[in-house]
């Protein structure tokens, strides 16, 4: 666990980013997003992440509902998960994506128990990443100074 006694510098943010990167929470796609930020689009990453969490909430709900319906429609499930996985991949959410892949494998084998079990992992990773990213963006605003007050809570 990262001790949060922070020097308000970009250097700390870099360290945090590397930590997330090394622990597999985020991959290079996230860095690619950061590289796309500039003075005209200073909050692109946060916007992407916010859009992701707004959009994925709905997808997760759809998956949840599909998992409780009987009989389970695995084609529908696969479809929802495919979209969710795609979005996760686009923001660089590695761990979430990994669980999605496992879910998809169970789904293709019509293994309901496997799907249900893995879905719990998906939700957990999804929520965990959200907390980490909220922290990250909050620190980013602090590091940038009082002038950078744009952006709000993630999702």
């Amino acid at each position: 666990m990262l001790v949060v006694a922070l020097p308000r510098t970009a250097l700390f943010l870099q360290a945090l980013n590397i930590y997330y990167f090394n622990k597999g929470y985020l991959d290079e796609q996230f860095i690619q997003l950061e590289e796309l930020e500039d003075d005209d689009n200073p909050n692109f990453v946060e916007e992407m992440v916010t859009t992701f969490y707004n959009n994925s909430a709905r997808l997760l709900q759809n998956i949840e509902q599909a998992l409780v319906s009987r009989p389970i429609d695995f084609t529908k499930l696969d479809n929802y998960m495919h979209r969710f996985k795609g979005s996760s991949s686009s923001i660089g959410a590695t761990r979430v994506k990994k669980e999605c892949t496992i879910f998809t494998e169970y789904c293709k084998k019509a293994n309901a128990e496997g799907c249900i079990r893995t879905f719990l992992q998906v939700k957990q990773e999804h929520a965990c990443l959200r907390r980490k990213l909220e922290t990250y963006f909050q620190l980013g605003r602090q590091a940038a100074g009082p002038s950078a007050n744009a952006g709000g809570q993630v999702g």
């Binding site: 360290a15 290079e28 690619q32 003075d39």
Partner: protein, 224 residues
């Protein structure tokens, strides 16, 4: 817009995923392209001025002259997996249209399926990008767009040199090999951080403005 040689290239991006639309839009704008995004193949065709019934009669111009002038599109980049009309369906409709067939089309997909890639390239797609799409992918678009627009020859040569040292005209097979190799590289990106960092650097030099005042993590120099 219009016929000026200095006007920007206009790209039409088609994707049902809002995240991917945001991403591709940002990537394209970073590369100084004008962008229109739509969330379906149907809407793409509407935007291009193509109507379903015009397919059956190739003699009928499918786009009215006024329409065509206003919505000049220099490249279409589309997701493959979309509900309703897939990217492949869209590609086919474009290639079957007398007014639209010369517009270069690029397909994006989150799945690396060789038969899918071949099918798209055979149908006339210029490139096939694996998602998530990166700046280095978007940097490959310019040569395709330049083919369809008249530009100052000197400027064209300079830009060609910058983008790649490869000759523009390649055989279909070579293109496919290139594409598969490119995808293999992309799939190996994650473990090979050093390699991909230098690719990213190149993409940065080509695509982004150097003016940045905000400190930025670049993954290259920081040691924890």
């Amino acid at each position: 817009m219009g016929m000026s040689t200095e006007s920007q290239f206009h790209v039409l991006a088609v994707d049902d995923s809002i995240i991917d639309r945001k991403l591709i839009e940002r990537l394209l704008k970073t590369s100084s392209y004008q962008v229109t995004t739509v969330d379906s193949g149907t809407k793409a065709l509407e935007f291009l001025g193509l109507h379903e019934d015009d397919e059956s009669n190739p003699e009928t111009p499918s786009v009215s002259p006024n329409n065509h002038q206003e919505v000049e599109v220099n490249l279409i980049i589309t997701d493959y997996c979309m509900p309703g009309m897939t990217g492949y369906d869209l590609l086919r409709k474009i290639k079957e249209s007398s007014s639209l067939r010369d517009i270069p089309v690029v397909i994006m997909s989150s799945e690396n399926v060789p038969s899918r890639i071949s099918r798209c390239l055979e149908e006339g797609a210029e490139e096939f990008f694996l998602k998530p799409v990166r700046l280095s992918d978007v940097n490959r678009l310019r040569p395709h767009m330049m083919k369809t627009k008249l530009k100052d020859p000197k400027q064209e040569n300079e830009e060609n040199k910058e983008e790649s040292g490869k000759p523009e005209s390649r055989s279909q097979e070579e293109k496919e090999e290139q594409q598969q190799h490119h995808q293999q590289q992309q799939l190996h990106h994650l473990p090979q951080q050093q390699h991909s960092n230098s690719n990213k650097r190149k993409a940065l030099e080509e695509g982004l403005s150097p003016d940045r005042t905000r400190p930025r993590y670049n993954g290259l120099t920081t040691v924890v």
